[in-house]
Protein backbone atom coordinates (compact mmCIF):
# COMPACT_ATOMS: atom_id res chain seq x y z
CA UNK A 1 0.00 0.00 0.00
CA UNK A 2 1.57 3.29 -1.14
CA UNK A 3 0.30 6.15 1.07
CA UNK A 4 1.82 8.80 -1.18
CA UNK A 5 -0.39 7.58 -4.03
CA UNK A 6 -3.41 7.41 -1.73
CA UNK A 7 -2.65 10.97 -0.63
CA UNK A 8 -2.45 12.34 -4.17
CA UNK A 9 -5.74 10.63 -5.12
CA UNK A 10 -7.44 12.27 -2.12
CA UNK A 11 -5.73 15.62 -2.90
CA UNK A 12 -6.94 15.55 -6.50
CA UNK A 13 -10.52 14.67 -5.54
CA UNK A 14 -10.71 17.36 -2.85
CA UNK A 15 -9.29 19.90 -5.31
CA UNK A 16 -11.95 18.92 -7.86
CA UNK A 17 -14.78 19.04 -5.31
CA UNK A 18 -13.69 22.52 -4.27
CA UNK A 19 -14.22 23.65 -7.87
CA UNK A 20 -17.71 22.14 -8.08
CA UNK A 21 -20.00 25.00 -7.10
CA UNK A 22 -23.15 22.91 -6.63
CA UNK A 23 -21.40 20.56 -4.18
CA UNK A 24 -19.74 23.41 -2.26
CA UNK A 25 -23.00 25.35 -2.10
CA UNK A 26 -24.93 22.40 -0.69
CA UNK A 27 -22.16 21.69 1.85
CA UNK A 28 -22.17 25.32 3.05
CA UNK A 29 -25.89 26.09 2.88
CA UNK A 30 -27.30 23.12 4.79
CA UNK A 31 -25.26 23.67 8.00
CA UNK A 32 -25.90 27.38 7.74
CA UNK A 33 -29.68 26.89 7.62
CA UNK A 34 -30.00 24.02 10.10
CA UNK A 35 -27.32 24.95 12.61
CA UNK A 36 -27.19 28.74 12.45
CA UNK A 37 -30.28 30.41 11.04
CA UNK A 38 -32.98 28.09 12.45
CA UNK A 39 -31.64 28.00 16.04
CA UNK A 40 -30.99 31.74 16.01
CA UNK A 41 -34.56 32.44 14.93
CA UNK A 42 -35.90 30.10 17.61
CA UNK A 43 -33.76 31.68 20.32
CA UNK A 44 -34.80 35.18 19.29
CA UNK A 45 -38.49 34.25 19.17
CA UNK A 46 -38.33 32.45 22.54
CA UNK A 47 -36.99 35.62 24.15
CA UNK A 48 -40.07 37.56 23.11
CA UNK A 49 -43.10 38.16 25.35
CA UNK A 50 -45.69 35.37 25.70
CA UNK A 51 -43.29 32.46 25.05
CA UNK A 52 -43.31 31.31 28.66
CA UNK A 53 -47.11 31.12 28.62
CA UNK A 54 -46.99 29.24 25.36
CA UNK A 55 -44.67 26.61 26.85
CA UNK A 56 -46.59 26.19 30.12
CA UNK A 57 -49.97 26.35 28.40
CA UNK A 58 -49.25 23.79 25.66
CA UNK A 59 -50.45 20.34 26.85
CA UNK A 60 -48.35 18.48 24.23
CA UNK A 61 -45.14 20.17 25.34
CA UNK A 62 -46.01 19.57 28.98
CA UNK A 63 -46.61 15.89 28.25
CA UNK A 64 -43.24 15.70 26.46
CA UNK A 65 -41.47 17.25 29.45
CA UNK A 66 -43.21 14.85 31.85
CA UNK A 67 -42.25 11.78 29.78
CA UNK A 68 -38.54 12.46 29.37
CA UNK A 69 -36.38 9.85 31.06
CA UNK A 70 -34.72 10.77 34.39
CA UNK A 71 -31.20 10.76 32.89
CA UNK A 72 -32.19 13.61 30.61
CA UNK A 73 -34.42 15.34 33.13
CA UNK A 74 -31.43 15.68 35.47
CA UNK A 75 -29.76 17.91 32.87
CA UNK A 76 -32.80 20.18 33.03
CA UNK A 77 -32.73 20.59 36.81
CA UNK A 78 -32.81 24.22 37.84
CA UNK A 79 -34.09 25.33 34.41
CA UNK A 80 -37.21 27.42 33.97
CA UNK A 81 -39.85 26.52 31.35
CA UNK A 82 -38.34 28.59 28.53
CA UNK A 83 -34.85 27.27 29.20
CA UNK A 84 -36.18 23.73 29.37
CA UNK A 85 -38.16 24.18 26.13
CA UNK A 86 -35.15 25.54 24.27
CA UNK A 87 -32.80 22.90 25.71
CA UNK A 88 -35.29 20.22 24.72
CA UNK A 89 -35.70 21.47 21.17
CA UNK A 90 -32.16 22.64 20.38
CA UNK A 91 -30.25 20.30 22.67
CA UNK A 92 -32.18 17.05 22.07
CA UNK A 93 -34.64 17.20 19.20
CA UNK A 94 -32.08 18.92 16.96
CA UNK A 95 -29.38 16.37 17.75
CA UNK A 96 -30.32 13.87 15.00
CA UNK A 97 -30.66 16.76 12.55
CA UNK A 98 -26.96 17.34 13.07
CA UNK A 99 -26.30 13.94 11.48
CA UNK A 100 -27.62 15.25 8.17
CA UNK A 101 -24.32 17.15 7.89
CA UNK A 102 -21.87 14.22 7.61
CA UNK A 103 -24.35 12.18 5.60
CA UNK A 104 -25.02 14.88 3.04
CA UNK A 105 -21.44 16.02 2.57
CA UNK A 106 -20.04 12.49 2.42
CA UNK A 107 -22.59 11.36 -0.17
CA UNK A 108 -22.17 14.42 -2.37
CA UNK A 109 -18.36 14.33 -2.26
CA UNK A 110 -18.12 10.60 -2.85
CA UNK A 111 -20.72 10.71 -5.64
CA UNK A 112 -18.60 13.42 -7.26
CA UNK A 113 -15.46 11.37 -6.69
CA UNK A 114 -16.64 7.92 -7.82
CA UNK A 115 -19.51 8.45 -10.29
CA UNK A 116 -18.09 11.81 -11.42
CA UNK A 117 -15.00 10.10 -12.89
CA UNK A 118 -17.22 8.02 -15.12
CA UNK A 119 -19.47 10.93 -16.04
CA UNK A 120 -16.51 13.10 -17.08
CA UNK A 121 -14.87 10.17 -18.93
CA UNK A 122 -11.68 10.32 -16.85
CA UNK A 123 -12.12 6.86 -15.36
CA UNK A 124 -10.18 4.92 -17.98
CA UNK A 125 -7.08 7.13 -17.74
CA UNK A 126 -7.20 6.73 -13.97
CA UNK A 127 -7.42 2.95 -14.28
CA UNK A 128 -4.38 2.95 -16.59
CA UNK A 129 -2.23 4.38 -13.79
CA UNK A 130 0.03 2.23 -11.64
CA UNK A 131 -2.18 2.75 -8.55
CA UNK A 132 -3.68 -0.50 -7.28
CA UNK A 133 -7.46 -0.94 -6.95
CA UNK A 134 -7.12 -0.70 -3.15
CA UNK A 135 -5.11 2.55 -3.35
CA UNK A 136 -7.72 4.10 -5.65
CA UNK A 137 -10.55 2.97 -3.38
CA UNK A 138 -8.95 4.19 -0.16
CA UNK A 139 -7.79 7.49 -1.69
CA UNK A 140 -11.24 8.26 -2.99
CA UNK A 141 -12.94 7.22 0.23
CA UNK A 142 -10.59 9.44 2.30
CA UNK A 143 -11.27 12.34 -0.07
CA UNK A 144 -14.90 12.15 1.03
CA UNK A 145 -14.42 11.05 4.65
CA UNK A 146 -11.95 13.69 5.86
CA UNK A 147 -13.79 16.78 4.56
CA UNK A 148 -17.22 15.50 5.60
CA UNK A 149 -16.09 14.86 9.19
CA UNK A 150 -14.23 18.18 9.33
CA UNK A 151 -17.28 20.02 7.97
CA UNK A 152 -19.45 18.37 10.63
CA UNK A 153 -17.01 19.31 13.38
CA UNK A 154 -16.75 22.91 12.19
CA UNK A 155 -20.56 22.99 12.02
CA UNK A 156 -20.67 21.68 15.61
CA UNK A 157 -18.37 24.48 16.79
CA UNK A 158 -20.65 26.99 15.03
CA UNK A 159 -23.70 25.42 16.68
CA UNK A 160 -22.04 25.63 20.12
CA UNK A 161 -21.31 29.32 19.54
CA UNK A 162 -24.80 30.07 18.23
CA UNK A 163 -26.59 28.32 21.13
CA UNK A 164 -24.41 29.86 23.85
CA UNK A 165 -24.06 33.38 22.44
CA UNK A 166 -27.56 33.57 20.91
CA UNK A 167 -29.09 31.96 24.00
CA UNK A 168 -27.17 34.04 26.57
CA UNK A 169 -30.21 36.24 27.25
CA UNK A 170 -32.28 33.11 28.06
CA UNK A 171 -29.75 30.90 29.87
CA UNK A 172 -27.28 33.45 31.21
CA UNK A 173 -24.56 30.80 31.15
CA UNK A 174 -22.75 28.36 28.86
CA UNK A 175 -25.21 25.46 28.79
CA UNK A 176 -24.30 23.66 25.56
CA UNK A 177 -23.08 21.05 24.55
CA UNK A 178 -25.11 18.57 26.55
CA UNK A 179 -23.30 15.26 27.32
CA UNK A 180 -25.08 13.24 24.60
CA UNK A 181 -23.52 15.44 21.90
CA UNK A 182 -19.99 14.14 22.53
CA UNK A 183 -20.58 10.57 21.29
CA UNK A 184 -22.86 12.00 18.62
CA UNK A 185 -20.18 14.31 17.23
CA UNK A 186 -17.06 12.22 17.72
CA UNK A 187 -18.42 8.68 17.26
CA UNK A 188 -21.73 8.70 15.37
CA UNK A 189 -20.77 11.50 12.95
CA UNK A 190 -17.73 9.68 11.49
CA UNK A 191 -19.89 6.53 11.33
CA UNK A 192 -22.55 8.34 9.31
CA UNK A 193 -19.84 9.74 7.00
CA UNK A 194 -18.52 6.24 6.43
CA UNK A 195 -22.05 4.95 5.83
CA UNK A 196 -22.74 7.70 3.27
CA UNK A 197 -19.49 6.96 1.44
CA UNK A 198 -19.86 3.19 1.40
CA UNK A 199 -23.45 3.41 0.16
CA UNK A 200 -22.43 5.87 -2.56
CA UNK A 201 -19.50 3.71 -3.66
CA UNK A 202 -21.81 0.75 -4.08
CA UNK A 203 -24.36 2.82 -5.97
CA UNK A 204 -21.68 4.55 -8.07
CA UNK A 205 -20.58 1.26 -9.58
CA UNK A 206 -24.07 0.90 -11.01
CA UNK A 207 -25.00 4.41 -12.11
CA UNK A 208 -23.38 6.57 -14.76
CA UNK A 209 -23.76 10.07 -13.30
CA UNK A 210 -22.95 12.10 -10.20
CA UNK A 211 -26.61 13.09 -9.75
CA UNK A 212 -27.79 9.49 -10.04
CA UNK A 213 -25.40 8.39 -7.30
CA UNK A 214 -26.09 11.40 -5.09
CA UNK A 215 -29.87 11.15 -5.29
CA UNK A 216 -29.93 7.42 -4.59
CA UNK A 217 -27.54 7.53 -1.65
CA UNK A 218 -29.30 10.67 -0.40
CA UNK A 219 -32.22 8.44 0.57
CA UNK A 220 -30.14 7.53 3.66
CA UNK A 221 -31.49 10.77 5.14
CA UNK A 222 -34.56 8.67 5.99
CA UNK A 223 -32.45 7.20 8.82
CA UNK A 224 -31.94 10.67 10.27
CA UNK A 225 -35.60 11.58 9.83
CA UNK A 226 -36.50 8.34 11.62
CA UNK A 227 -34.40 9.45 14.60
CA UNK A 228 -35.96 12.92 14.57
CA UNK A 229 -39.47 11.42 14.53
CA UNK A 230 -38.56 8.82 17.15
CA UNK A 231 -37.44 11.55 19.51
CA UNK A 232 -40.41 13.80 18.75
CA UNK A 233 -42.95 11.09 19.59
CA UNK A 234 -41.00 9.90 22.63
CA UNK A 235 -40.08 6.54 21.10
CA UNK A 236 -36.37 7.10 21.59
CA UNK A 237 -34.31 9.64 23.51
CA UNK A 238 -30.71 10.08 22.48
CA UNK A 239 -28.35 9.71 25.39
CA UNK A 240 -24.66 9.00 25.74
CA UNK A 241 -25.26 5.23 25.74
CA UNK A 242 -27.77 5.26 22.93
CA UNK A 243 -25.29 7.39 20.97
CA UNK A 244 -22.54 4.84 21.50
CA UNK A 245 -24.79 1.92 20.49
CA UNK A 246 -26.18 3.84 17.50
CA UNK A 247 -22.62 4.62 16.37
CA UNK A 248 -21.66 0.97 16.67
CA UNK A 249 -24.62 -0.14 14.54
CA UNK A 250 -23.88 2.49 11.88
CA UNK A 251 -20.17 1.59 11.84
CA UNK A 252 -21.13 -2.06 11.36
CA UNK A 253 -23.52 -1.20 8.52
CA UNK A 254 -20.85 0.99 6.93
CA UNK A 255 -18.31 -1.82 7.29
CA UNK A 256 -20.58 -4.31 5.53
CA UNK A 257 -21.29 -1.85 2.70
CA UNK A 258 -17.56 -1.06 2.40
CA UNK A 259 -16.80 -4.75 2.10
CA UNK A 260 -19.39 -5.09 -0.66
CA UNK A 261 -18.07 -1.89 -2.31
CA UNK A 262 -14.49 -3.17 -2.38
CA UNK A 263 -15.71 -6.33 -4.14
CA UNK A 264 -17.23 -4.15 -6.87
CA UNK A 265 -14.30 -1.77 -7.15
CA UNK A 266 -11.85 -3.45 -9.48
CA UNK A 267 -10.54 -2.48 -12.88
CA UNK A 268 -12.18 -5.30 -14.76
CA UNK A 269 -15.69 -4.62 -13.44
CA UNK A 270 -15.36 -0.86 -13.74
CA UNK A 271 -14.18 -1.10 -17.35
CA UNK A 272 -16.93 -3.54 -18.27
CA UNK A 273 -19.50 -1.18 -16.75
CA UNK A 274 -17.84 1.76 -18.50
CA UNK A 275 -18.06 -0.01 -21.85
CA UNK A 276 -21.68 -1.07 -21.33
Amino acid sequence: MNWRKIGIIAWKDILEVRQNKSVVLSIVLVPLIILVIMPLVMLLVSGSAGTAEAFTGDPDLQMMFENIPPSIASAFANMNDIQMGMAMILGYLFAPMFLIMPLMSSTSISAESFAGERERKTLEALLYTAATDAELFIGKSLAAFIPSVLIAWVSFILYVLVLNIGGWSIFGSIWFPLPLWYPLVFWVTPAFSALGISATVLISTRVQTFMGAYQTSGSLVILVLGLVMGQAVGLIYLSVWIGIVLGLVIWLAAGILFFLGIQQFNRKKLLYQNAS
Binding site: R4, I9, E16, Q19, T122
Partner: protein, 313 residues
Protein backbone atom coordinates in the same frame (compact mmCIF):
# COMPACT_ATOMS: atom_id res chain seq x y z
CA UNK B 1 16.24 -7.42 -31.82
CA UNK B 2 14.72 -6.94 -28.38
CA UNK B 3 11.00 -7.73 -28.26
CA UNK B 4 9.08 -5.24 -26.14
CA UNK B 5 5.71 -6.89 -26.75
CA UNK B 6 5.09 -10.56 -27.46
CA UNK B 7 1.58 -11.84 -28.00
CA UNK B 8 0.74 -15.41 -28.93
CA UNK B 9 -2.61 -17.12 -29.32
CA UNK B 10 -4.38 -14.27 -27.51
CA UNK B 11 -8.11 -14.82 -27.14
CA UNK B 12 -10.51 -12.78 -25.03
CA UNK B 13 -14.26 -12.84 -24.48
CA UNK B 14 -16.61 -10.11 -23.24
CA UNK B 15 -19.27 -12.37 -21.76
CA UNK B 16 -20.32 -14.55 -24.68
CA UNK B 17 -18.75 -12.32 -27.33
CA UNK B 18 -15.33 -13.19 -28.64
CA UNK B 19 -13.55 -9.83 -28.75
CA UNK B 20 -10.06 -11.14 -29.62
CA UNK B 21 -9.41 -14.36 -31.47
CA UNK B 22 -6.02 -16.06 -31.64
CA UNK B 23 -3.98 -12.90 -32.06
CA UNK B 24 -0.22 -13.16 -32.62
CA UNK B 25 2.26 -10.29 -32.96
CA UNK B 26 5.49 -8.85 -31.68
CA UNK B 27 6.71 -5.29 -31.29
CA UNK B 28 10.44 -4.59 -31.49
CA UNK B 29 12.25 -2.06 -29.33
CA UNK B 30 12.13 1.48 -30.76
CA UNK B 31 9.61 0.81 -33.51
CA UNK B 32 6.18 2.34 -34.09
CA UNK B 33 3.70 -0.48 -34.43
CA UNK B 34 0.16 0.18 -35.58
CA UNK B 35 -3.01 -1.75 -34.78
CA UNK B 36 -5.20 -0.89 -37.73
CA UNK B 37 -8.86 -1.72 -38.02
CA UNK B 38 -12.42 -0.42 -37.95
CA UNK B 39 -14.37 0.22 -34.72
CA UNK B 40 -14.98 -3.07 -32.93
CA UNK B 41 -11.89 -4.71 -34.43
CA UNK B 42 -10.47 -5.30 -30.94
CA UNK B 43 -7.69 -2.68 -30.90
CA UNK B 44 -8.64 -1.04 -27.58
CA UNK B 45 -9.28 -4.44 -25.97
CA UNK B 46 -5.79 -5.52 -27.05
CA UNK B 47 -4.26 -2.45 -25.39
CA UNK B 48 -6.26 -3.13 -22.22
CA UNK B 49 -5.02 -6.71 -22.17
CA UNK B 50 -1.42 -5.58 -22.71
CA UNK B 51 -1.76 -3.28 -19.68
CA UNK B 52 -3.25 -5.93 -17.43
CA UNK B 53 -6.68 -4.36 -17.19
CA UNK B 54 -8.22 -7.72 -18.08
CA UNK B 55 -6.89 -11.23 -17.92
CA UNK B 56 -6.97 -13.02 -21.28
CA UNK B 57 -9.09 -16.14 -21.60
CA UNK B 58 -6.37 -17.84 -23.64
CA UNK B 59 -2.89 -17.12 -24.93
CA UNK B 60 0.25 -15.57 -23.64
CA UNK B 61 1.33 -11.94 -23.36
CA UNK B 62 4.68 -10.46 -22.38
CA UNK B 63 5.17 -6.70 -22.17
CA UNK B 64 8.72 -5.62 -21.31
CA UNK B 65 9.21 -9.24 -20.30
CA UNK B 66 6.39 -9.05 -17.76
CA UNK B 67 3.06 -10.87 -17.59
CA UNK B 68 0.26 -8.26 -17.53
CA UNK B 69 -2.14 -10.66 -15.79
CA UNK B 70 0.05 -10.76 -12.68
CA UNK B 71 2.33 -7.72 -13.07
CA UNK B 72 -0.09 -5.20 -14.57
CA UNK B 73 0.78 -2.46 -12.05
CA UNK B 74 4.51 -2.76 -12.86
CA UNK B 75 3.79 -2.54 -16.59
CA UNK B 76 1.53 0.50 -16.10
CA UNK B 77 4.33 2.16 -14.14
CA UNK B 78 6.74 1.69 -17.06
CA UNK B 79 4.26 2.40 -19.86
CA UNK B 80 2.41 5.50 -20.99
CA UNK B 81 -1.15 5.38 -22.30
CA UNK B 82 -3.13 7.88 -24.31
CA UNK B 83 -6.77 6.87 -24.12
CA UNK B 84 -9.27 7.53 -26.90
CA UNK B 85 -10.45 10.73 -25.19
CA UNK B 86 -7.89 13.04 -23.50
CA UNK B 87 -9.49 12.17 -20.10
CA UNK B 88 -8.05 15.20 -18.33
CA UNK B 89 -9.32 16.61 -15.06
CA UNK B 90 -10.78 19.77 -16.50
CA UNK B 91 -11.18 21.58 -13.18
CA UNK B 92 -7.44 21.18 -12.59
CA UNK B 93 -4.60 23.02 -14.30
CA UNK B 94 -2.17 21.33 -16.68
CA UNK B 95 0.50 21.37 -13.98
CA UNK B 96 -1.88 19.80 -11.42
CA UNK B 97 -2.92 17.12 -13.93
CA UNK B 98 0.70 16.20 -14.59
CA UNK B 99 1.55 16.21 -10.88
CA UNK B 100 -1.35 13.83 -10.15
CA UNK B 101 -0.38 11.32 -12.82
CA UNK B 102 3.35 11.69 -12.08
CA UNK B 103 2.95 10.76 -8.43
CA UNK B 104 0.66 7.84 -9.33
CA UNK B 105 3.37 6.62 -11.70
CA UNK B 106 5.82 6.56 -8.80
CA UNK B 107 7.90 9.67 -9.68
CA UNK B 108 9.47 11.67 -6.83
CA UNK B 109 8.40 15.29 -6.30
CA UNK B 110 11.64 16.52 -7.90
CA UNK B 111 11.19 14.21 -10.90
CA UNK B 112 7.58 15.31 -11.33
CA UNK B 113 8.58 18.95 -11.30
CA UNK B 114 11.49 18.54 -13.70
CA UNK B 115 9.57 16.35 -16.14
CA UNK B 116 6.49 18.61 -16.00
CA UNK B 117 8.54 21.66 -17.02
CA UNK B 118 10.29 19.71 -19.81
CA UNK B 119 7.07 18.35 -21.28
CA UNK B 120 5.07 21.55 -20.98
CA UNK B 121 7.83 23.23 -23.01
CA UNK B 122 8.13 20.37 -25.49
CA UNK B 123 4.38 20.25 -26.12
CA UNK B 124 3.98 24.03 -26.33
CA UNK B 125 1.85 24.41 -23.21
CA UNK B 126 4.21 26.28 -20.87
CA UNK B 127 2.33 29.59 -21.15
CA UNK B 128 -1.02 28.00 -20.23
CA UNK B 129 0.38 25.60 -17.60
CA UNK B 130 -1.57 27.18 -14.74
CA UNK B 131 -4.88 27.49 -16.59
CA UNK B 132 -7.66 25.02 -15.96
CA UNK B 133 -7.63 22.49 -18.76
CA UNK B 134 -11.38 22.88 -19.24
CA UNK B 135 -10.55 26.14 -21.00
CA UNK B 136 -8.16 24.44 -23.47
CA UNK B 137 -8.93 23.78 -27.15
CA UNK B 138 -9.28 20.15 -28.28
CA UNK B 139 -5.80 20.22 -29.77
CA UNK B 140 -4.27 21.56 -26.56
CA UNK B 141 -6.06 18.92 -24.51
CA UNK B 142 -4.73 16.20 -26.77
CA UNK B 143 -1.20 17.62 -26.51
CA UNK B 144 -1.46 17.64 -22.72
CA UNK B 145 -2.80 14.08 -22.75
CA UNK B 146 0.22 13.10 -24.86
CA UNK B 147 2.53 14.90 -22.43
CA UNK B 148 0.88 12.97 -19.60
CA UNK B 149 1.51 9.69 -21.44
CA UNK B 150 5.19 10.64 -21.88
CA UNK B 151 5.58 11.84 -18.29
CA UNK B 152 7.45 8.83 -16.98
CA UNK B 153 9.88 8.44 -19.91
CA UNK B 154 7.91 5.32 -20.73
CA UNK B 155 9.63 2.33 -22.27
CA UNK B 156 6.50 1.74 -24.31
CA UNK B 157 3.74 4.14 -25.25
CA UNK B 158 0.20 3.07 -26.16
CA UNK B 159 -1.70 5.66 -28.22
CA UNK B 160 -5.39 4.98 -28.85
CA UNK B 161 -6.63 7.06 -31.80
CA UNK B 162 -4.22 9.93 -31.06
CA UNK B 163 -5.74 12.36 -33.58
CA UNK B 164 -9.38 11.33 -33.31
CA UNK B 165 -11.75 14.31 -33.26
CA UNK B 166 -9.04 16.89 -34.01
CA UNK B 167 -9.19 19.40 -36.83
CA UNK B 168 -6.63 18.75 -39.62
CA UNK B 169 -4.21 21.40 -38.35
CA UNK B 170 -4.22 20.04 -34.79
CA UNK B 171 -3.97 16.47 -36.11
CA UNK B 172 -0.84 17.36 -38.11
CA UNK B 173 0.62 19.06 -35.03
CA UNK B 174 -0.02 16.01 -32.84
CA UNK B 175 1.43 13.66 -35.47
CA UNK B 176 4.57 15.76 -35.75
CA UNK B 177 4.88 15.79 -31.97
CA UNK B 178 4.62 12.00 -31.80
CA UNK B 179 7.29 11.69 -34.48
CA UNK B 180 9.63 14.27 -32.91
CA UNK B 181 9.31 13.13 -29.32
CA UNK B 182 9.61 9.48 -30.29
CA UNK B 183 12.87 10.24 -32.10
CA UNK B 184 14.20 12.32 -29.20
CA UNK B 185 13.26 9.81 -26.51
CA UNK B 186 13.58 6.59 -28.54
CA UNK B 187 10.28 5.26 -27.21
CA UNK B 188 8.60 2.13 -28.56
CA UNK B 189 5.10 3.16 -29.66
CA UNK B 190 1.98 1.08 -30.27
CA UNK B 191 -0.75 3.06 -32.03
CA UNK B 192 -4.39 2.02 -32.40
CA UNK B 193 -5.96 3.78 -35.30
CA UNK B 194 -8.45 3.60 -38.11
CA UNK B 195 -6.84 6.66 -39.68
CA UNK B 196 -4.92 5.21 -42.61
CA UNK B 197 -3.03 8.39 -43.38
CA UNK B 198 -1.81 8.51 -39.79
CA UNK B 199 -0.76 4.85 -39.89
CA UNK B 200 1.09 5.35 -43.17
CA UNK B 201 2.97 8.38 -41.84
CA UNK B 202 3.86 7.07 -38.41
CA UNK B 203 4.07 3.29 -38.36
CA UNK B 204 7.06 1.09 -39.16
CA UNK B 205 4.91 -2.03 -39.08
CA UNK B 206 1.20 -2.68 -38.96
CA UNK B 207 -1.24 -5.32 -37.80
CA UNK B 208 -4.53 -5.12 -39.68
CA UNK B 209 -7.40 -6.38 -37.54
CA UNK B 210 -10.99 -7.30 -38.23
CA UNK B 211 -13.49 -8.51 -35.63
CA UNK B 212 -10.76 -9.46 -33.19
CA UNK B 213 -8.67 -11.41 -35.66
CA UNK B 214 -5.47 -10.63 -37.49
CA UNK B 215 -6.00 -10.03 -41.21
CA UNK B 216 -2.38 -9.25 -42.06
CA UNK B 217 0.77 -7.81 -40.58
CA UNK B 218 4.09 -6.45 -41.64
CA UNK B 219 5.67 -3.28 -43.02
CA UNK B 220 3.76 -1.23 -45.58
CA UNK B 221 5.84 -2.90 -48.28
CA UNK B 222 5.01 -6.35 -46.91
CA UNK B 223 1.31 -5.46 -46.96
CA UNK B 224 1.61 -4.13 -50.51
CA UNK B 225 2.99 -7.46 -51.61
CA UNK B 226 0.01 -9.19 -50.06
CA UNK B 227 -2.45 -7.34 -52.28
CA UNK B 228 -0.30 -6.92 -55.37
CA UNK B 229 2.29 -9.28 -56.81
CA UNK B 230 4.77 -6.45 -57.39
CA UNK B 231 5.40 -2.76 -57.77
CA UNK B 232 3.79 -1.33 -60.88
CA UNK B 233 5.79 1.29 -62.78
CA UNK B 234 4.38 3.43 -65.62
CA UNK B 235 6.67 4.40 -68.51
CA UNK B 236 6.04 7.11 -71.13
CA UNK B 237 8.07 7.44 -74.35
CA UNK B 238 8.74 10.29 -76.73
CA UNK B 239 8.08 8.12 -79.82
CA UNK B 240 6.16 4.84 -80.41
CA UNK B 241 8.05 1.76 -79.22
CA UNK B 242 7.93 -1.84 -80.42
CA UNK B 243 7.07 -3.45 -77.07
CA UNK B 244 7.36 -6.93 -78.55
CA UNK B 245 11.13 -6.44 -78.50
CA UNK B 246 11.03 -5.53 -74.82
CA UNK B 247 8.85 -8.49 -73.93
CA UNK B 248 11.35 -10.73 -75.67
CA UNK B 249 14.24 -9.43 -73.56
CA UNK B 250 15.13 -11.14 -70.29
CA UNK B 251 14.74 -8.52 -67.57
CA UNK B 252 15.59 -9.60 -63.99
CA UNK B 253 12.86 -8.86 -61.47
CA UNK B 254 10.14 -8.33 -64.10
CA UNK B 255 6.85 -9.98 -63.12
CA UNK B 256 4.23 -8.70 -65.52
CA UNK B 257 3.83 -6.15 -68.34
CA UNK B 258 0.94 -4.23 -69.84
CA UNK B 259 0.87 -2.16 -73.05
CA UNK B 260 -1.35 0.89 -72.62
CA UNK B 261 -0.67 2.59 -76.00
CA UNK B 262 2.23 2.70 -78.50
CA UNK B 263 3.97 5.29 -76.24
CA UNK B 264 2.82 4.08 -72.80
CA UNK B 265 3.72 0.90 -71.02
CA UNK B 266 3.43 -0.52 -67.50
CA UNK B 267 5.62 -3.10 -65.83
CA UNK B 268 5.29 -4.88 -62.52
CA UNK B 269 8.64 -5.49 -60.81
CA UNK B 270 9.49 -7.21 -57.55
CA UNK B 271 10.55 -3.95 -55.88
CA UNK B 272 12.14 -0.55 -56.49
CA UNK B 273 15.61 -2.03 -56.97
CA UNK B 274 14.48 -3.65 -60.23
CA UNK B 275 13.40 -0.39 -61.89
CA UNK B 276 16.92 0.59 -63.18
CA UNK B 277 17.16 -2.80 -64.98
CA UNK B 278 13.91 -2.11 -66.82
CA UNK B 279 15.06 1.39 -67.79
CA UNK B 280 18.42 0.01 -68.97
CA UNK B 281 16.68 -2.58 -71.17
CA UNK B 282 14.52 0.09 -72.81
CA UNK B 283 17.56 2.29 -73.38
CA UNK B 284 19.41 -0.63 -74.98
CA UNK B 285 16.43 -1.13 -77.32
CA UNK B 286 16.71 2.52 -78.37
CA UNK B 287 13.52 3.70 -76.68
CA UNK B 288 13.52 7.39 -75.56
CA UNK B 289 12.00 7.52 -72.09
CA UNK B 290 10.40 10.79 -70.98
CA UNK B 291 8.78 9.64 -67.72
CA UNK B 292 9.10 6.83 -65.19
CA UNK B 293 6.45 6.79 -62.44
CA UNK B 294 6.27 4.05 -59.78
CA UNK B 295 2.63 3.51 -58.90
CA UNK B 296 2.31 3.91 -55.09
CA UNK B 297 -0.40 1.72 -53.64
CA UNK B 298 -1.72 3.68 -50.72
CA UNK B 299 -2.33 2.05 -47.37
CA UNK B 300 -5.98 2.88 -47.94
CA UNK B 301 -6.08 0.60 -51.00
CA UNK B 302 -4.19 -2.11 -49.21
CA UNK B 303 -6.41 -1.82 -46.15
CA UNK B 304 -9.64 -1.92 -48.13
CA UNK B 305 -8.47 -4.91 -50.12
CA UNK B 306 -7.37 -6.71 -46.97
CA UNK B 307 -10.57 -5.90 -45.10
CA UNK B 308 -12.73 -7.00 -48.03
CA UNK B 309 -10.58 -9.87 -49.19
CA UNK B 310 -10.64 -12.07 -46.13
CA UNK B 311 -7.76 -13.47 -44.11
CA UNK B 312 -4.46 -13.18 -45.86
CA UNK B 313 -2.12 -13.56 -42.92
Amino acid sequence: MEKVVQVSGLTHFYGENRAINDLNFEVNRGEVFGLLGPNGAGKTTTVRLLNGMFEPNQGEIRVLGLDPATQGAVIREKAGVLTETPALYERLTARQNLRFFGVLAGLSDAEVQQRTEELLGLFGLAKRADDRTGAYSKGMKQRLALARAWLTNPKILFLDEPTSGLDPEAAVQVRELISDVRQKEGTTVLICTHNLDEAQRLCDRLLVMRQGTSVAQGSLQDLRRLVSAGLWVDFSFLEPVDFALFNGAAVPGLIETKINSDTEFSAAVRDEKDIPEVIETFVKLGARIIRVQPREISLENIYLQLQNGGGLS
